[in-house]
Amino acid sequence: GVDCGADSRMCCRQEFFVDFKEIGWEDWIIQPEGYHMNYCAGLCPLHMAGIPGLAASFHTAVLNRIKAASAAAAVDSCCVPTQRRPLSLLYYDRDSNIVKTDIPDMIVDSCGCT
């Protein structure tokens, strides 16, 4: 997958870090210090469909040019997560117990076109 740059327009992963201190949650969340709430954004024209991110081989690029020339090129596909991992949290619940849990699929590692 590809990380978004300042002026990326094609499908890429936008990094977004939530600092728990900034939102006043550092008193009940012991670990970690924040949450990487990355998300996918950008265009997925049909000739890009089905490849993970923009990194494509020469063969795929030629195939894409052929697809792009076809009439159906106007239909887009979607920019979605292609790899995700759990968010491990260590926090206090309202009875002052310490709870550790791994919330599945909370952090997006890479994006691609459907």
Binding site: R9, F16, V18, E22, I23, W25, D27, W28, Y35, M37, A41, G42, L43, C44, D76, C79, L87, L89, Y91, Y92, D93, R94, D95, S96, N97, I98, V99, K100, T101, D102, I103, P104, M106
Partner: protein, 233 residues
């Protein structure tokens, strides 16, 4: 919207940077609370003492590495693969004792579990950790009673089990309380009461100060309940 920019994918007017950040922070909060099944962020009334926290966290880590040695196919990060349903969210809960009524040689402790966790998980394992300071010579008999809320009336309890421990020497001893905690998780107020009774000449079975790093605690491992699926043919 001020810049007239539009989202390249869906064409909606792009949010101003500040508004976008606020929207994302609000989304992050909603997302984490929803996944933890919490209606709002918990207001933590009273933190357990630093000593008690560190002791309990070290115990959990040691328990996990022992389990790693004992169970083949252990996951790399020390988590025990769930017995049933891979990929179900797992919880490890450290519950610190709240002191209840006590006499010279008998003491009651309360362990509370939050409704959010109790209502959506099933207990895989639960262990009570008790520290015995040096007392008299030779093994000493200690009685541990597990009490549960009595459905018949508020603030009354019924005896769930009674165990006699022979405490050979000062140090930590453990007691499996999995069955008692498991049956609690169906109750309105999931609260486990433990009653300790020691020989008359021992004095109190509890450390004198709640901030003591040898304060009793329970380590429980729970797993999200498999979503109830209805199959229609």
């Amino acid at each position: 919207a001020a810049t007239g920019e539009r989202c390249p994918a869906c064409g909606v007017a792009a949010l101003a940077p500040g508004a976008q950040r606020d929207a994302l922070l609000a989304l992050a909060k909603r997302s984490i609370l929803a996944k933890l099944r919490l209606p709002a962020r918990p207001s933590v009334p009273q933190l357990p003492s630093r000593g008690a926290r560190l002791t309990a966290l070290r115990t959990v880590r040691a328990q996990r590495s022992d389990a790693a040695a004992a169970i083949p196919g252990m996951l790399r990060d020390g988590r025990v693969p769930p017995r049933s349903g891979p990929g179900l969210q797992e919880y490890e809960i450290l519950s610190f004792a709240e002191p209840g009524s006590s006499t010279s040689h008998r003491a009651r402790l309360h362990f509370r579990f939050s409704q959010e966790v109790a209502g959506s998980t099933e207990i895989l394992q639960a262990t009570l950790y008790l520290f015995w300071a040096a007392r008299g010579r030779g093994a000493q008999p200690v009685t541990v009673r597990l009490l549960q809320p009595d459905p018949a009336g508020p603030n009354t309890t019924v005896l769930a089990s009674e165990t006699r421990l022979e405490v050979p020497r000062p140090g930590w001893s453990t007691l499996d309380v999995g069955a008692a905690v498991r049956s609690l998780f169906g109750h309105e107020t999931p609260r486990l009461t433990v009653e300790l009774e020691v020989p008359e000449d021992w004095g109190s079975p509890l450390p004198s100060d709640r901030g003591d790093s040898r304060w009793p605690f329970v380590v429980a491992r729970a797993q999200a309940r498999t979503p109830h699926r209805v199959h229609r043919r």
